[in-house]
Symmetry: C2
Subunit: 293 residues, 2 copies
């Protein structure tokens, strides 16, 4: 992935393929510590990623090199926020981009998406969409592609590419209720080589809030309170068994004005917390946005 | 239905329960001809409805009275357009109304819906929503109820009630893509006695255009052209076999401004015509809005 992005002359952080601890130390000494070490396969939701703060810590990565080599070393990027550029492409080469969104990660897991990313310079948003469309085209992607990015004002194009995800993606769930065409409909159109649908946002702002497995085993028992608390919320449950920390659903909520974003985030979080913690927990204490921030 | 509406003191056209041709003639002579004669059960899409223009024509209704009696006679109302007020109600009595819409009937069949009804006086819209909510409450409706109305400026509240439909309804299909909560989601919430969802429109105007069975037997074959012709169109097919005149699907299309309504109608109609007539027919000649008006 990193080599392909370099080939396309799109903005990568400093990176190297490293075969052993010595390689990793050389890379860190050259680019500066900390360094992010990644397994090139099998990673997701922060799994397969370690932050190495020094040459001394690098010695402790011997187990990973034994299990899998080479690994990917990347400079740990200073950024103001994380972005995601979502596009879809058909085998015939038609491609469309949704507006670039702001993604908020907690413990390496996507927690919240604000769509579109507010106050993003138009040239940065355009360059980010263009980068995602170029990647989709040059790599011959069919279907939905998410390009996760670090926003880096003043550095390069204003962003560096973090990760590619060639599938309908958590950062695109907002499109189910916030865009003319959802990423799932678009993915089907794309793989069927049908014309793609419009990707316009339906509202000035849409917030997507994930909920992970928590204290409530019977999600449906919380629906009466959750739905009553916010009639505009759209609740999506995945039908998975509830395990702590597992992604089991998300809430989408649109706002009538970007000035409402704090309120929309708070209300989406409230609904997600009620479903996660159950009716009893919600009866005990009101949930505040700060608890989950 | 007519008796219940009278009991609620909501605006009915003149009506009577008629047992035979003599009753029908008395009603028509009293209220003026033409008269609309309806079977009280089993009617839909214009079936079970006859317009009787004179006492002489009334003699020809003997067959209906033989088959089914009493029948419903109604004054044929002069109106400017048809409206539909859609509401949903839970067993606990929570109820919500979507914006009142303008419905366009062709040969007694709903052909097109413009949501919300443009330029409707706010007091007429409010009274229409209120009437539908009262009917749902007083009759103890669970689920979605459509109240079809004639707009009658200067007469009564500005409308007369035409028909009640206690179900998700053709005049509510626009909500699938044009409202925060679709009538189908709302119907499920209602019958499960869950809190109801917000009924706000997502766009200044949404057009729903039905397509009936026509020359194209394989609807999917027309999708490449239909979807390419209008990327924002949402096509809903019912999976029914294609028979001439049978409702087999509809197209929803939102517009960014009420000033765009003519363009939105034309584009929704174009998509529906392509699917109805097939790719070959669409290649032969462009479809004009006038052809279907």
């Amino acid at each position: 992935m990193r080599a392909a992005i370099d080939r396309l002359e799109l903005p990568n952080p400093a990176w190297a393929s490293v075969d052993n601890v010595a390689d990793l130390v050389s890379f860190g000494d050259a680019t500066g510590w900390p360094v992010v070490l990644k397994t090139p396969r099998g990673g997701y939701d922060g799994k397969g990623v370690r932050v190495i703060n020094s040459a001394e810590e690098a010695a402790g990565t011997e187990d990973w090199f034994q299990a899998m080599s080479p690994l990917l070393a990347e400079a740990k990027v200073e950024f103001t926020r994380e972005l995601s550029a979502l596009v879809a492409r058909t085998p015939d080469g038609e491609a469309r981009a949704w507006p670039v969104v702001h993604t908020i990660q907690v413990n390496g897991v996507c927690d919240e998406v604000i769509a579109p990313a507010l106050d993003i310079p138009v040239e940065v948003a355009a360059a980010a969409e263009d980068a995602a469309l170029r990647i989709a085209g040059e790599l011959g992607v069919t279907g939905v592609l998410a390009v996760e990015m670090f926003e880096t004002p003043g550095v390069g194009a204003g962003f560096l590419i973090n990760e590619l995800a060639m599938r309908p993606h958590n950062t695109g769930h907002w499109t189910q209720d916030g865009a003319v065409t959802s990423q799932f409909e678009q993915h089907l159109r794309a793989i069927l080589n049908l014309p793609l649908g419009a990707t316009d946002a339906l509202a000035p702002v849409t917030v997507m809030k994930n909920f992970l497995g928590g204290g409530n085993q019977d999600l449906y028992s919380a629906f009466p309170l959750a739905l009553a608390s916010e009639p505009a919320a759209k609740v999506h449950c995945y039908g998975k068994s509830v395990r702590p920390g597992r992604k089991i659903g998300h809430v989408n909520l649109i706002g009538a004005s970007t000035a409402d974003v704090d309120s929309v985030r708070r209300r989406a979080t409230m609904v997600a917390n009620i479903i996660r913690d159950g009716r009893a927990a919600a009866d005990e204490a009101p949930h505040t946005f700060e608890e989950t921030a």
